[in-house]
């Protein structure tokens, strides 16, 4: 054992009180840092698991003219711009080796209408349900009824949306051909259970920018909920793709199947002919019209099954969710994909899931920053207290240090002695804090502390349960941070100690 280490080690025991205070600060600092890192990692993993893998993918493609990029987590009712030429975009995506899978969807908000003139709102995702479940790990689970099939028209209403619809329209949705389940009633509906207005279909009117929307009646096939972060995503009910497009006035796959005769096509192409149609100023005539009142009750649901032979991709989409291959950097993928899209003059751009998630992504970043700032502040305070205690210790030991200098110890010896003392304390107490933190974190995970329905907790926990985890990177980062704080804390005391001269030691005597 070197003389420096020997003196440092024994001094720690000689000044037990001070060593203990510094030790406790280092212990608490590293324990909280380890716990904080665990929470951050758990949150990251949870978010990866619950948002990226189950809802958005890593990258979201949106229309190039889409202003508000928060197309998933933003709850603005402004219509989402459409992506045209999806077939071309699909070809680009298929060529990218770093892309694992992708899913085009329609996304929008629709009004819900009923005969009584009440009005409700719902977020809708128009998807091929089989592809959706495959891409997002069967994120939708049934509460009532049955799952929508790829070949049928209908809507899967989320349990949260059903509750919201009841609250605004006093209409309780029950899936077609499914028994009414009293126990599933919301507290508000339960209080009115004797006179419930039970419906198995709903009239939707898409909120699109160009006014081409239609009122459509769709059967409620099932009531579902999202397996993870349901309280956040429950705003999106699932509508079959073709109904969505009809409802929002988009080009449907069926539309693209319509064959126009060569003669009609020729006429449509002749712009001059089209213009000439409007040359006659008397084209409009005032006529008496007789219209019957608009009656929602008369809107009949389409019973036509969706053909499996149809090219769905020929229709309109708003968003494409893209998942990357494991380990591929999001930043790099975004850059490459945007270059490819731009070079191909595609009408889509790639953005990160965080941007698309809008306020949710912002909240995630905010929580992360708060946690990091908290841990950093904690260490700053710890460093200040340790610096102060060690500086006092250096001044108190003026005689001892001065005498060492008098008999031939140089400044570096004194610096090493002080640094060793702090390093030993940091190693033992800081290490202990990290070990205890590493033991406590799995215990907390094992306890399965529920987040409940609190969105903030759901995000902090990264899922339905508090699941902090510690990986090798966190441990290495923890050690580096602890080392940095130790160096920072010892810097000033070492300067104080090395400035002590032998004369000061004698003068003090």
């Amino acid at each position: 054992m070197g003389i420096i280490f020997k003196i440092a080690w024994r001094n720690i025991f000689r000044h037990k009180g001070k060593s203990f205070i510094i030790g406790v600060i280092l212990f608490l600092g590293s324990f909280i840092m380890t716990a904080g890192n665990g929470v951050l990692s758990g949150m990251n993993k949870g978010l990866q698991e619950n948002i990226v893998n189950r809802f958005t993918g890593d990258i979201v493609l949106i229309a190039t003219n889409q202003r508000d990029e928060a197309v998933v987590g933003g709850w603005s009712l402004t219509p989402t711009e459409v992506i045209s030429g999806y077939t071309n975009i699909k070809a680009i995506l298929l060529k990218q080796p770093y892309i694992e899978s992708f899913l085009p969807v329609c996304r929008g908000f629709s009004m819900i209408l009923n005969e009584a003139g009440d009005m409700g709102f719902s977020g809708l995702l128009g998807v091929d349900i089989d592809d959706y479940q495959r891409m997002f790990q069967s994120n939708l689970v049934l509460v009532e009824g049955r799952m929508l099939s790829s070949t049928e028209r209908g809507v899967l209403v989320t349990a949260g949306a059903r509750k919201a619809i009841y609250n605004s329209m006093e209409m309780w949705l029950t899936p077609v051909d499914s028994p009414f389940i009293l126990s599933n009633l919301s507290p508000e509906a339960m209080s009115n259970s004797n006179s419930l207005n039970i419906q198995s279909n709903m009239v939707l009117m898409g909120m699109s920018a160009d006014g081409n929307q239609l009122d459509i009646r769709v059967p409620v096939v099932g009531i579902a909920k999202y397996k993870y972060l349901d309280s956040i995503w429950q705003g999106y009910s699932i509508l079959d793709l073709e109904s969505f497009r009809e409802c929002f006035g988009y080009v449907t796959a069926q539309d693209t199947e319509i064959k126009i005769s060569e003669e009609k096509e020729r006429i449509l192409k002749e712009e001059e002919n089209l213009d000439s149609l409007f040359e006659d100023k008397n084209i409009f005539q005032k006529v008496e019209t007789k219209t019957s009142a608009y009656q929602i009750g008369k809107i009949k649901p389409k019973r036509v099954a969706i053909s499996t032979n149809m090219d769905r991709d020929a229709g309109i989409y708003n968003i494409v969710f893209v998942k990357l291959k494991r380990g591929y950097k999001l930043k790099d993928a975004l850059l490459k994909l945007n270059i490819e899209l731009s070079n191909s003059k595609a009408s889509a751009k790639a953005i990160s899931w965080k941007k698309a998630a809008g306020s949710i992504g912002d909240m995630v970043s905010f929580i992360k920053v708060i946690l990091i700032v908290f841990v950093a502040l904690l260490f700053l305070v710890a460093a200040i207290i340790i610096t102060n205690t060690l500086s006092m210790s250096a001044i108190e030991r003026t005689t001892e240090i001065g005498m060492m200098r008098a008999v031939g110890a140089d400044k570096s010896f004194v610096a090493k002695m002080f640094a060793s003392e702090t390093a030993i304390l940091s190693f033992f107490f800081g290490g202990l804090g990290m070990v205890i933190g590493a033991i406590v974190l799995p215990l907390i995970s094992w306890l399965k502390v529920p987040a409940g329905t609190n969105d903030f907790l759901l995000l902090v926990f990264g899922g339905d349960y508090f699941n902090p985890i510690l990986d090798t990177g966190d441990i290495i980062a923890g050690i580096l941070i602890l080392a940095f704080v130790t160096v920072l804390a010892m810097l000033y005391p070492v300067i104080v100690a090395t400035r002590i001269t032998p004369l000061e030691a004698i003068a003090r005597d």
Partner: protein
């Protein structure tokens, strides 16, 4: 041959708004192997003079040479090395490292030198500890020793590097007369055997009977120098 030469050495200390002239132009030569005593009343400048000779303090004015080397212009690192290799210190209060035992305290300067093997360091330290009569206390820490025993440890530590000069600031001031006499006997013996130059300050007349040379100092100035014959 002169081992130490002081020419026109002055040392001033600021004390509030005034300046204390601790040493006021001292010229002094000390020969190699001398047993040299600086005497004077308290506050006469004895300790300051020893500190200046021992490279612990810098003069305000004048020149100090050790082995013909001017020390006033030396860097801290060189002064530290000079103290380590050429000078041994025995302080008025015993100034041992409290967390090290007797052997480790004596070994300390040798460990700083980093030029001896572990076995050699131990051998030299144990030899000196035996010479100062502390063999049976070799594993004791300073807190477990009496004042005299601690001073003997300090002497062993000062001599373990075989320094050319040993500076002792009132080495017997805190000791009873019997222990003080033993310490001086030991120093004298080492002076005669090892030819080590000893410079010690004192205002104890009993100590003077051991000195070969005595310099009397008052108000920071040398008032007389006397060679004693015993």
């Amino acid at each position: 041959m002169n081992i130490i030469e002081l020419k026109g050495v002055k040392k001033d200390y600021p004390l509030g708004n005034t300046i204390v002239h601790a040493v006021r132009g001292v010229d002094l030569c000390v020969e190699e192997g001398d047993f040299f005593s600086i005497v004077g009343p308290s506050g006469s400048g004895k300790t300051t003079l020893l500190n200046l000779i021992g490279c612990i303090d810098n003069p305000t004015e004048g020149s100090i040479k050790i082995h013909d080397q001017e020390i006033t212009s030396m860097k801290d690192k060189d002064l530290t090395n000079l103290r380590l290799y050429k000078i041994g210190f025995i302080f008025q209060t015993f100034n041992l490292i409290p967390v090290l035992n007797v052997r480790e305290n004596v070994e300390f300067p040798l460990l700083l030198m980093k030029k001896f093997s572990k076995a050699e360091i131990r051998k030299r330290a144990e030899k000196l500890i035996e010479e100062v009569g502390l063999k049976e206390y070799i594993d004791h820490r300073p807190a477990e020793l009496s004042g005299g025993q601690r001073q003997r440890v300090a002497i062993a530590r000062a001599l373990v590097t075989n320094p050319d000069i040993v500076l002792a600031d009132e080495p017997t001031a805190n000791l009873d007369s019997e222990t003080g006499a033993n310490i001086l006997e030991l120093m004298k013996e080492l002076n005669e055997i090892e030819k080590t130059t000893f410079i010690f300050s004192t205002h104890d007349p009993d100590v003077l009977k051991y000195a070969k040379d005595v310099v009397k100092i008052r108000d920071g100035m040398i008032v007389s120098r006397e060679e004693l014959k015993h």
